[in-house]
C-alpha cells in the first residue's frame, strides 16, 4: 500500500532522509521509530505529497506521490505533529469543514460527522470550540479530521507527543480500534508506543532505516528482551550515541 524506493531528501548539505526503502502492506500499522531529527517527519511529508523528494520515488496505493499527487491525496489522511485544528470552530464544525473539502453532499457529510463523533466518543465536547479543548481531545479531533474522508492510508506524525499518560493511553485505544481498517504509518520516539501499537517497526537513524521487522524480530536480532534495549543496541551499531 505504501512503497518508497531509494527515497532521499536533502536540505542544502544536510541529508534528512537517505535512500530509504520501505514497503507497508494493506491494513498494517507500521511505526517509524527514531529520535528527534531522525527524518521521520520528512518521510511522512514526502509520502503525503507535502514535500518533493530530492531523488527516489514514493507510491501510495500504486500512485506516484510526485506525479499523481491529486490521486494520492484522495487516498490519504494526515494528522500532523502539531494539532492542526481550526481554533474558533467547534469540534463538529471542524469535522464538517473537513468533510466539505472532500466534496461530501450535505446528507453524507452529516452522517459521516455523526459517525466520527460517535467512533471517537466526542459527544460531550462536540459543541465546544477547539481552542478550549485539552491536548488529548485536540489530538483525538485531529485524528478524526484525518479520517473524515475514509482514507485508505492514515499518517500519524507523533500522535501522542506532549500528552499526559492518561490521554496517551486513551489515544492508543483509539488507534488500536483503527488497526486493520486501514493502513497506518505512525512516527514516534516513544518505545512503548511502537511496542504497543505496531505490527512492524522500522528503526530510523540519521535518515536511514537501519532495522525493520516485528517486535519479536527486532528483539531476536539484538538478543535483547525489550524494545528500548534493542533500540539502543541498534542505534549504537548504527553509530548513534
Amino acid at each position: 500500500m505504501i512503497e518508497a524506493r531509494q527515497l532521499t531528501r536533502r536540505y542544502g548539505a544536510k541529508t534528512a532522509v537517505d535512500r530509504l526503502d520501505l514497503q507497508v502492506k494493506p491494513g498494517e500499522l507500521f511505526a517509524l521509530l527514531g529520535v528527534n531529527g531522525a527524518g521521520k517527519t520528512t518521510t511522512i511529508r514526502m509520502l503525503s505529497c507535502l514535500s518533493v523528494p530530492t531523488s527516489g520515488e514514493a507510491f501510495v496505493g500504486g500512485f506516484s506521490c510526485t506525479k499523481e499527487a491529486d490521486r494520492v491525496k484522495q487516498l490519504i489522511g494526515i494528522s500532523p505533529q502539531d494539532t492542526a485544528v481550526a481554533d474558533n470552530l467547534s469540534v463538529r464544525e471542524n469535522l464538517e469543514f473537513m468533510a466539505s473539502l472532500y466534496g461530501f453532499d450535505p446528507e453524507k457529510k452529516q452522517e459521516r460527522v455523526r459517525r466520527m463523533i460517535e467512533d471517537f466518543r466526542m459527544q460531550e465536547v462536540e459543541d465546544q470550540r477547539a481552542k478550549t479543548l485539552s491536548g488529548g481531545w485536540k489530538r483525538r479531533l485531529s485524528i478524526a479530521m484525518a479520517l473524515i474522508n475514509d482514507p485508505k492510508v492514515l499518517f500519524l506524525d507523533e500522535p501522542t507527543l506532549g500528552l499526559d499518560v492518561l490521554a496517551r493511553r486513551e489515544l492508543w485505544r483509539v488507534i488500536e480500534e483503527l488497526k486493520g481498517k486501514m493502513t497506518i504509518l505512525l512516527t514516534t520516539h516513544y518505545m512503548e508506543e511502537a511496542e504497543q501499537l505496531s505490527d512492524r517497526i522500522a528503526v530510523m537513524i540519521a535518515g536511514q532505516i537501519v532495522a525493520c521487522g516485528t517486535l519479536q524480530e527486532l528483539l531476536d536480532s539484538t538478543g535483547e528482551n525489550d524494545l528500548e534495549n534493542a533500540f539502543v543496541a541498534i542505534a549504537e551499531k548504527g553509530g548513534v550515541r
Binding site: 514535500s51 494528522s79 474558533n88 464544525e93 466539505s100 473539502l101 472532500y102 466534496g103
Partner: protein
C-alpha cells in the same frame, strides 16, 4: 468551488468569533465617527473647514474601517501559516485558488456589512446634526467602495503570506496610519496643496476616499469620481493578483 466556499465559511467564523474583529472593524470606526462629528460641531463655521462634516466624514470613515479588514486578513493568513493547519489542508484536494479566494471572500462580505453599518450610523448622525445625506448616494458609495475593499484585503493577504503572525500586524499598522493620513480622511489635502497633495496623489488611499465621498454627493465627474475609481480599481486588481501569486509561490515553496 465547493472547497473554496467551505474554506471561506471557516474563515468567516474564525474572524467573526474573535471579539477584536468587532472592536477594530466596527467599534473603533464608529467611535471615530462620533468623535469627529463632535469635533465638527466645535469648529466655527467661519473657518470654512468641512472635512469632518458628515457628508465628507462618512466616506472617509468607511475607508478607515476598510484598513482594519487588511489587518484581520493578514492575521488569519499568518496564524494559519504559523501552525500545522495549512499543512493538513495542503494534504487535502484544495488548490491555491481555493485558498486565496477563500481568504478574500468572507472579508469582502464582512467589509460590505461594515460599510452598511457605518453608513446607517452616518445617516442617523446626519438627521441629528441637520446635514442631509443622500440615501442613493450612500448606496452608490457602498458599491464604489468594493474595489478599495479588495485592495486592502489584497494588502492583508500579501502581508499574511510574506510575513509571520508577529510581523504582519506591525506592517498593517503602518498601512493603517499611512492610509488614513495620506488618504485625506483627517485633513483636506486639496486645500493644503503643495508637496503634501502630490504625496497623497501618488498613493492609492487618496483616491479611495475621494471616490467614496464623491459617490455620496452623487457627483460622478471625471476628475472627482471616475478617475479616482479607475485608479483604485487598477490598484485593487494589481494587489489581488499579486497577493494570489505570492500565496501560490509560498504554497509551492512549502510543498517543495
Amino acid at each position: 468551488m465547493k472547497r473554496m466556499l467551505a474554506f471561506s465559511e471557516r474563515n468567516r467564523k474564525e474572524i467573526l468569533r474573535d471579539p477584536l474583529s468587532y472592536l477594530f472593524c466596527l467599534g473603533f470606526p464608529l467611535v471615530m465617527l462620533l468623535i469627529m462629528t463632535v469635533l465638527d460641531a466645535s469648529i466655527p463655521k467661519e473657518a470654512g473647514m468641512t472635512i469632518f462634516r458628515i457628508d465628507n466624514l462618512a466616506g472617509g470613515i468607511a475607508v478607515f474601517g476598510q484598513t482594519f479588514l487588511m489587518l484581520f486578513t493578514a492575521l488569519t493568513v499568518a496564524k494559519d501559516r504559523s501552525g500545522s493547519f495549512l499543512t493538513r489542508l495542503y494534504a487535502s484536494p484544495m488548490k491555491s485558488a481555493d485558498f486565496t479566494l477563500g481568504y478574500m471572500l468572507p472579508v469582502l462580505l464582512i467589509g460590505i456589512a461594515q460599510t452598511v453599518l457605518l453608513y446607517l450610523a452616518s445617516l442617523v448622525i446626519s438627521w441629528v446634526v441637520g446635514t442631509p445625506l443622500s440615501v442613493p448616494g450612500l448606496l452608490v458609495s457602498l458599491v464604489t467602495l468594493i474595489p478599495s475593499m479588495v485592495m486592502f484585503i489584497g494588502f492583508g493577504l500579501l502581508f499574511g503570506t510574506l510575513f509571520s503572525d508577529k510581523a504582519a500586524p506591525g506592517l498593517c499598522s503602518i498601512i493603517i496610519s499611512l492610509g488614513s493620513f495620506l488618504g485625506c480622511i483627517w485633513f483636506d489635502a486639496d486645500k493644503t496643496g503643495g508637496v503634501m497633495l502630490k504625496i497623497c496623489k501618488a498613493l492609492p488611499f487618496y483616491y479611495c476616499t475621494r471616490a467614496a465621498r464623491s459617490a455620496i454627493r452623487l457627483d460622478f465627474g471625471q476628475g472627482t469620481y471616475l478617475f479616482p475609481l479607475l485608479i483604485v480599481s487598477l490598484c485593487a486588481a494589481v494587489l489581488a493578483v499579486l497577493s494570489a501569486l505570492a500565496f501560490r509561490t509560498r504554497m509551492k515553496a512549502d510543498l517543495a
